[in-house]
Amino acid sequence: MKRFFKVSLADIFFGSVSFLSALLVLILIFSVLFVLYKESSLAIEKFGVIKFLITNDWDPVKEIFGAAAPLYGTIMTTILSLVVAVPVGVGIAIFLSETAPNFLKTPLGITIEMLAAIPSIIYGMWGLFTLAPIMREYVEPFLQNTLGKIPIIGIIFQGEIMGVSIFTASVVLGIMIIPFIASISRDALNLTPNIMKESAYALGATKWEVIKDVMIPYSKLGIYGGVVLALGRALGETMAVAFVIGHKLDIHLSIFQPATTITVTLANEFTEADTDLYLSALFYLALILFILSFVVLVIAKYFLLRAERGLKR
């Protein structure tokens, strides 16, 4: 009886403490949304939702704020970085799961995972000191002289070349998210049952046909999940972009012009905000970014969960 007394109290303690921590985690997650909303309520009242999203002005002196420029920069860099990263990432995944000789698979896989662990500030610094000069001297003039000559599309490549631009930022961002896409897609591809691949080979399919018609259809949900997850990462990345985008609150059609993203605006102006409305507008930006990435990550999670469920069946 004594023993029972001793044990049950510890049980109550441990159970309630662990319950409290789980509850605390849940509360913390929801309080992010609540606190950001509360802090930005001043700006929401003043500018509304639609008006804030389409206003291009960002004038701390006159206290007129609009999210159009940072939002445009965020979306442009994200899309362009995916254009860079998705083919390469999926290519690496195919290489790692099928093409590569066996002795290379594990070390290469580990290398890719290691590279995902490198902090983003390193990518940013490398972008500023190494990639931006290369872009300024060689790549951007080259693109301007070739693709820039084509009418209509040429507008994208117009303007004075400075090296810090949406284009450079997207390349840095793209390089950074390659490992994410590659490792998730590789895991998805590797889950294809051998028996399916072997059946296709037995029918006389070539290696590429097996990849294209058996492996990719089988693992497409996992690959989508990886791509959308990488998209979420690219949306919210701060340091890799902050160095090379130039932080200029303007919308230009040309991708060779400096611009800004939501994250970069926050990083650069947050500590300088001197009025309540200014700070509130910045919190508003953070709220928009939070909601945007939350939605994207929910979609990614949906794909990954469905992929998992499909495999269990």
């Binding site: 009886m1 004594k2 001793k6 044990v7 049950s8 049980d11 109550i12 303690f13 441990f14 159970g15 403490v17 662990s18 789980a22 985690v25 913390l28 997650i29 992010v32 606190v35 802090e39 290519g91 690496i92 290489f95 790692l96 099928e98 290469l108 580990i110 290398t111 995972e113 290691m114 662990a117 490198i118 902090p119 983003s120 500030i121 390193i122 940013g124 610094m125 000191f129 190494t130 390089i175 070539t206 290696k207 590429w208 294209k212 997850l229 919210g236 701060t238 340091m239 994250t263 990083a267 947050f270 500590t271 700070l279 919190f283 953070a286 939070f290 990435s293 939350f294 990550l297 999670k301």
Partner: protein, 360 residues
């Protein structure tokens, strides 16, 4: 017939070459970055970097001692705050709440929180811990609350042992008396917690104002919690349920089972998760920009702004001086090596653990 086969083979060859090429292309950039960091970093590396504080620009060689120490401090406290919370919450959703809707919601939400932009977490912590709301710092209250809960738990544990020691000679038969003693102990513990909170709040809350190290540590802890929670959950789910049943059959309480059976078999996995979460936050810059901010001077006081390696790299790399750039590269090299090293250790542990399992 022969021609189509040839054509298919050629297409296959081209496609596979493309995939190989893309692998080389991707690896090229990544190796390029690493090579650049190592090349420029070694050039700036010196003993002074670790032993001296920053010197004003143009006033000779300074170091980054304050940033190294500050980084260690922030990550250390982030670990202290984040890891117990993450492990406890992970335990709850994997054990007590296994299979319930609550567990599922917490698990999916923390999976999402793992990838939420870290700068948003920085703004969140700023608004509760740095920016004073009225005159009351909400984050400091949270901190004191957290501290008093921990103290109360320790106190309750000790009280429990003491009461057991005292009562071990008296035999109590009635169930209601046992319940009464239990409830009294819990009540005393709760009162103790409330007392500590009331006693500590005026002493601590006013001391934390503006940017402070605690805010930085909390921001990093916030990022760590979901990572630790998810790995703990996964690792605990891997422990076979029959193992627990065997222990239950021997009459062990759930707490005993978790402490002596479940944790013992999942400990390697949990430690790996902790290491990975440390490597995840050690390189974070964005959440520190407006929480712990930056400090040109050496300080150990967490109530003040504290400089961290990553924020220092940001400031120095954006600055105009060559000296600064050199030191930023060196600091980058140190932080990259550190993170790669602990990631490798974590991987080694995983391989060791699960490789052994396969062999058995």
């Amino acid at each position: 017939m022969n021609r189509t086969v040839k054509k298919r083979k050629i297409i296959s060859f081209i496609a596979l070459s493309l995939s190989t090429f893309s692998a080389i292309f991707g690896l090229f950039w990544l190796v390029f970055i690493l090579f650049d960091v190592i090349k420029n970093g070694i050039a700036g590396l010196s003993l002074d970097l670790f032993l001296k504080d920053p010197a004003p620009p143009g006033m000779g060689e300074g170091g980054l001692r304050n940033a190294f120490i500050g980084q260690l401090e922030i990550v250390f406290f982030a670990t202290i705050i984040g890891v117990p919370l993450g492990i406890l919450a992970g335990t709850f959703i994997a054990e007590y709440a296994r299979g319930t809707k609550f567990a599922r919601i917490v698990s999916i939400l923390s999976d999402i929180m793992v990838s939420v932009p870290s700068i948003v977490i920085g703004t969140f912590i700023y608004s509760i811990m740095v920016k004073p709301i009225g005159n009351i710092n909400l984050g400091a209250i949270f901190g004191v609350l957290f501290l008093s809960v921990i103290l109360a738990v320790i106190f309750g544990g000790i009280l429990n042992i003491v009461v057991n020691k005292i009562l071990s000679n008296v035999s109590i038969k009635s169930r209601s008396k046992i319940n009464f003693i239990n409830i009294t102990v819990v009540l005393i513990t709760v009162l103790f917690g409330i007392g500590t909170f009331i006693y500590l709040s005026p002493k601590l809350i006013d001391r934390i104002q503006g940017f402070n190290g605690w805010a930085g540590a909390s921001a990093l802890a916030f990022i760590m919690i979901p990572v630790v929670l998810r790995t703990t959950e996964d690792m605990l789910t891997l422990v076979p349920w029959t193992l627990r049943e065997a222990a239950f059959a021997l009459g062990a309480s759930y707490y005993r089972v978790i402490k002596d059976i479940v944790y013992r078999s999942a400990i390697t996995g949990i430690i790996t998760g902790v290491i990975l979460s440390i490597s995840r936050v050690a390189g974070e810059t964005a959440p520190l920009l407006f929480t712990s901010f930056n400090n040109q001077f050496f300080t150990l006081d967490m109530n003040e702004p504290i400089s961290s390696l990553t924020v220092m790299i940001f400031t120095y790399a954006m600055g105009p001086y060559d000296d600064w750039h050199k030191q930023a590269w060196a600091a980058s090299l140190v932080i990259t090596l550190f993170i790669l090293l602990i990631t490798l250790i974590a991987r080694y542990i995983i391989n060791y653990k699960f490789g052994k399992h396969k062999a058995q």
